[in-house]
Symmetry: C2
């Protein structure tokens, strides 16, 4: 059983799960585990690891349109190296500070592999949480920021020279889109973060909202770092749309609100397509790019891309 | 560097850490990681593992005198077995229900070893959080429940027959003392849970409060299961005082309030000693049992006892 099937198997028992974060009495809470083998390529600094791991949970809070308040982490490794631990905590503290949250500590554990489990909590605004299931035909489909930065980072980690490694670590330290999520709360009809990549996220949002999505390839904002690592335009789109782990927001916004809310998003908001009527159960046709079906293919933990 | 030294190394960076849970704007949050090799002996059911792992975090909420509201968990294993996962979730749901909290899901991850990271959140009462540092000379030192159940469980797991394994799994499913913690909030001057064992917890509370503690050995309430596995009285005290992982509460209560608050604790509250003046920096003499120094020795992850 793979992770998606496993999630479906327990979905009936856990009605609050299934969105980016659970909501209980106005508090959102979300947790993630990352570990060395699958999430931190050789060359990843512990500072970048702390930033990124805690950032991944803060991104889930952002995706609910909530204000991030605090985060904790478990830091597990074969042995405790003071410098490594201090750098991890510094990254965790700094990413929290970048979004107005507080890093309040956590737990230490000995483990066979460097592993971190992070949890973030936040508060829903008066507009309520923004879930994945409210997109309506006619809404504009929008994204924050630029896409493909993590794909570019991974290629730079593989290149392995000092300059590439330094640049890769820099790309790994994304700003969770909490401010953008708050700007979109009350306006966006559906929202999620893009941990599984643009294509897969579009499929998930379309499925949850029972709608279709029509993307325009050229409208997807590609991160400049992707141009450093990929020459052909098709390859660039592949990295921007299928790789994932960019932790940007994907949302549906009523057409008339797009320009107003765009100005309120610090990371920028780009219209990349349109929400349309659903495809009557034909999952493959649910999301199209320039008219062709866009496969539901994205990041799978532990596989090389 | 061991775990305690590592925690000290980062303490200066994290003022909110260092108690059972961090407190931010009236919300308490705490996280823990448990894994197969060190925390779940062969024979532990996934139901008991889910109960116990989530219970450990709920116990930290209880120790702050807060009402537990929700918990999440990351479930990581080499492969996802539907039945195992379902049983884990059922244990997590049930332990939350036992303390009036809600289990709201979490994350799945592939890992080299069955590992779970749990986080619980709760709300502080009007009396504020109960920390470890407020005990005053003259206070009564009290504990909830009965001690040594996890030590007894471990011996039963080792015995290995079906009856012993079943009984051990039952002992592993403790009730987090949330109701007791709430009853004690506003009255207890200091409180913590006993994850590291009675002796070590006494040292930690005495150090944080800058006081001494005088215990009476015979006053420590020993769990009946300890009598099943240990015949000699000295061995029973060893299991009840040094093993740990009982997840009971240890607290200091003003003498005049003991009998009143005892009646409000569903798990029962037993006076086991007295808070006295500090030992002027002599750490070994900080805690005594029947007049002799009680060593600061307890549960250390990954070691056999």
């Amino acid at each position: 059983m793979n992770e998606r099937d496993a999630l479906r198997a327990i979905a009936a028992d856990l009605p609050q799960a299934g969105d980016d974060a659970a909501v209980i009495d106005g508090t959102v809470i979300t947790t993630d585990m990352l570990h060395e083998r699958t999430d931190f390529p050789p060359g990843t600094t512990r500072y970048a690891a702390g930033w990124r791991a805690v950032g991944a949970s803060l991104s889930d809070v952002a995706a609910m349109g909530a204000a991030a308040s605090a985060a904790v982490a478990v830091y597990a490794d074969e042995a405790f190296d003071r410098e490594a631990l201090t750098r991890f905590v510094a990254g965790a503290v700094d990413v929290c500070e970048a979004v107005g949250a507080e890093y309040v500590g956590g737990d230490l554990d000995e483990h066979v592999e460097f592993t971190t489990a992070t949890t973030a909590v936040g508060d829903v605004t008066d507009a309520g949480p923004v879930t994945r299931d409210g997109a309506r035909p006619g809404d504009a489909l929008c994204v924050t920021g630029e896409w493909g930065r993590s794909a570019a980072a991974l290629r730079l980690f593989k290149r392995g020279d000092d300059g590439a490694i330094e640049r890769a670590n820099e790309l790994f330290r994304f700003t969770p889109r909490v401010a953008d999520g708050l700007a979109l709360a009350g306006t966006a009809t559906a929202m999620m973060d893009s941990s599984d990549g643009l294509a897969r996220s579009c499929h998930q949002l379309a499925e949850a909202s029972e709608v279709g999505i029509e993307l325009e390839r050229d409208a997807v904002p590609v991160h400049p770092a992707v141009e450093e690592v990929a020459e052909a335009s098709a390859e660039r789109f592949e990295l921007a749309a299928h790789f994932g782990e960019d932790f940007e927001l994907l949302c549906a916004v009523p057409e008339e609100d797009v320009s107003g809310v765009s100005e309120a998003c610090p990371a920028g908001l780009t219209r990349i397509g349109t929400v349309v009527e659903g495809s009557d159960g034909d999952a493959a046709a649910r999301v199209t790019a320039d008219g062709d079906p866009l496969p539901d293919r994205g990041f799978t933990h532990g596989t090389d891309k």
